[in-house]
């Protein structure tokens, strides 16, 4: 059994392309071309050159000595926070901008929640000199001012999404509507492993560089490519997909996925899709999502804007349903404490999304000889105001 995508664009029961006919030509063009273009040697060469010289890859796999001592196990941190723009998001935007160029596109659109994917998209558009429009919920624009300013400096136009709840879900709707209205010249850079096929697979492949490096680095450091555990936080799930990708079918390696429980899964203010969701369709993909019993998509809550999504990528829905991955829901308070602890023990201030993954060590016990790799998916600069408010710094 494979946990990767099948030839029809599904992970088990999940995935597919549930899109209006207006988007069919756009999606079909991508579906027909993405594997062909991305496997061309010239594409691979340019992609890896930029990852190396522009993004700063490979990112270090750092043995976190003091954190390991504290939890009496061997913890490695995959330092995606050291990438240019401060998170794993740029791996995907580099890949997609190169693809868009080869498809002859002259205009880029993207959605963003906290602004990390928006910044990563605006960055590669500046790099390539391509027009960039980023949709961002009006509510998020107000609470993520520094990232809005970054995008503007990078030359992007930031358009407020004023429909629905005016957050990430609505920014995604607006980006899709833009694409419907501009089907020929525009490429939509989706920021996570969500959306209609081929997006989940395409984004996972661009992020797969993370697990590829982990394999090489672990072999060098531990004499084996295989850790005992992989841990990553999951909103839509792109950093997790990258972390798991080359280990999906290797069941010696256990997979842990960390969702945001918000104020608690029972409080109604949560983003724990696996606990609270059921099967349905969101943004063109059949997956697990939070919805009313009448099929209306509901609003998630998390202190972390990057995990604040009512759905999850179809790969992860399948990992959940098949039991391949263990899902753990971490509350705001637990995450904030874990973020502060990593800062104090290792001198690394993590993004609040990442802090959720780090909080697992408080709830799950590992053996002293276990090798546990955590994707340190982003740095905490963007969250400083949140940390300040929370800890009254």
């Amino acid at each position: 059994m494979s946990y990767n995508i099948n030839e029809k664009g599904y992970y088990g029961d999940f995935g597919g392309a549930y899109i209006p006919e207006m988007l069919y030509p756009n999606i079909e063009e991508l579906r027909e071309n993405y594997l062909k273009i991305t496997s061309e040697p010239s594409f691979q060469e340019e992609f890896h050159q930029l990852l190396k010289d522009y993004v700063g890859r490979p990112s270090p796999l750092y043995f976190a000595k003091r954190l390991s001592e504290k939890y009496n196990t061997k913890i490695y941190l995959k330092r995606e926070d050291l990438n240019h723009t401060g998170a794993h998001k740029v791996n995907n935007t580099i890949g997609q901008i190169l693809l868009a160029k080869r498809l002859g596109k002259t205009r880029i659109i993207a959605e963003t929640g906290a602004g990390q994917h928006g910044v990563a998209t605006a960055t590669v558009c500046a790099l390539m000199g391509i027009e960039c429009v980023v949709y961002m919920g009006e509510v998020d624009i107000a609470r993520q001012a520094p990232n809005v300013a970054r995008m503007k400096m990078l030359g992007a136009k930031v358009v407020p999404a004023i429909s629905g709840s005016r957050t990430l879900k609505d920014a995604t709707n607006e980006a899709m509507r833009d694409w419907i209205n501009n089907p020929v010249d525009t490429h939509y850079i989706v920021g996570s492993v969500v959306g209609p096929h081929p997006y989940p697979d395409m984004v996972a492949r661009f992020q797969a560089v993370v697990s590829k490096e982990i394999k090489n680095q672990l072999l060098e450091k531990e004499g084996s490519e295989d850790p005992n555990y992989l841990i990553a936080c999951v909103g839509g799930g792109s950093n997790a997909a990258g972390t798991y990708y080359h280990y999906l079918d290797n069941e010696n390696v256990k997979i842990i996925a960390v969702e945001a429980a918000g104020k608690g899964v029972e409080t109604g203010e949560s983003a724990a899709t696996m606990v609270l969701g059921n099967e349905g369709i969101i943004h063109g993909s059949k997956t697990l999502l939070m919805q009313t019993k009448d099929g209306q998509i509901t609003e998630p809550y998390s202190i972390s804007a990057g995990l604040d999504y009512p759905g999850v990528g179809p790969m992860h829905a399948n990992l959940y349903k098949t039991g391949r991955a263990e899902f753990i829901a971490i509350k705001d308070d637990e995450a904030m404490k874990a973020g502060m602890q990593l800062s104090k023990l290792e001198g690394i201030i993590p993004a609040i999304e990442t802090s959720h993954a780090l909080a697992v060590f408080e709830t799950k016990k590992f053996k002293p000889e276990d090798i546990v790799v955590v994707n340190l998916s982003g740095r905490g600069d963007k969250d400083l105001q949140n940390y300040i408010d929370y800890f009254k710094l």
């Binding site: 006919e21 207006m22 069919y24 030509p25 089907p183 063109g284 099929g295």
Partner: protein, 256 residues
């Protein structure tokens, strides 16, 4: 014979009206349908509101949001429509996104539609391929016509495929846009309408998106069997009472 097929045989250009169930008020559904028929409308699309209508522009987004705030659900809509066939005889189509139908249960939804006397469904985000392989037999068991969209970007090959899977009409989206985004037609649209009309499709075409008044209705129906008005009608509902639909409908029909 299904009411849609029968209506399509009439020797006239058809006017179809879309409205969102539960808007402007929760209990307006039946009155709007009855008054539309009295005004001379040929067919009605009853919109089942959805939280994330990604093919729709601001007008229908707003009416959907308001309808959901008013408390509209699939169950309530079916309840409101249960006696509709005692008073209304024109074709009725439910238009809605797939997720609410999936949650209701596709078969249960179809069964309910048949019991009420719904003639067809338009589900923009259920692609023809998935419908064909997974749901076609269920729809047919309950006598429901599923209506597919084509756009100016749809290839001839795909239009022929959609035509072969369809039995009713083809919903011809006038331009690459969301609903209510553009009004009026240029050469691109008329060329497209003309091109489709020469393709010898077995299903008649009804044009939607961009039609708001008599002029655009006449332009759209020059080559097509009929036209659908949605956003412009929703705007009319916002500014007038549901008793006063004639002032919107009659000017469009009088020229025919």
């Amino acid at each position: 014979m299904n009411r849609i097929n029968k209506k399509l045989q009439e020797d006239k250009k058809l006017l179809s009206i879309y409205f969102t169930a539960g808007f402007p008020h929760i209990d307006d559904t039946v009155t709007i349908i009855q008054n539309l028929e009295k005004s001379g409308v040929d067919m009605i699309e009853i919109g089942l509101p959805f939280s994330d209508p990604l093919a729709d522009g601001p007008t229908i987004q707003d009416s959907s949001k308001k309808a959901l705030q008013n408390g509209m659900t699939s169950e309530l809509l079916f309840e409101q429509l249960k006696d509709i066939r005692n008073t209304v005889s024109i074709p009725l189509i439910i238009m809605g996104y797939f997720n609410p139908i999936l949650q209701y249960g596709v078969e249960a939804f179809c069964k309910k539609c048949k019991a009420i006397g719904i003639d067809g469904l338009i589900i923009p985000d259920l692609p023809v391929d998935i419908y064909h392989s997974e749901y076609k037999s269920t729809f047919e068991n309950y006598g429901l016509k599923n209506i597919f969209l084509i756009t100016p970007q749809t290839s001839d090959e795909r239009i022929h495929y959609i035509d072969s899977v369809s039995d009713g009409f083809i919903y011809m989206v006038s331009s690459a846009s969301t609903t209510g985004a553009k009004s009026g037609f240029g050469n691109i649209q008329t060329d497209y309408f003309e091109r489709i009309s020469t393709m010898n499709l077995k299903n008649p075409q009804i044009v939607g998106f961009g039609i708001s008044n008599k002029d655009t209705f006449n332009q759209a129906t020059k080559f097509a069997k009929g036209a659908i008005i949605g956003s412009a009608f929703i705007k009319h509902l916002k500014e007038n009472t549901i008793e006063d639909l004639n002032s919107f409908i009659l000017p469009i029909l009088n020229k025919h």
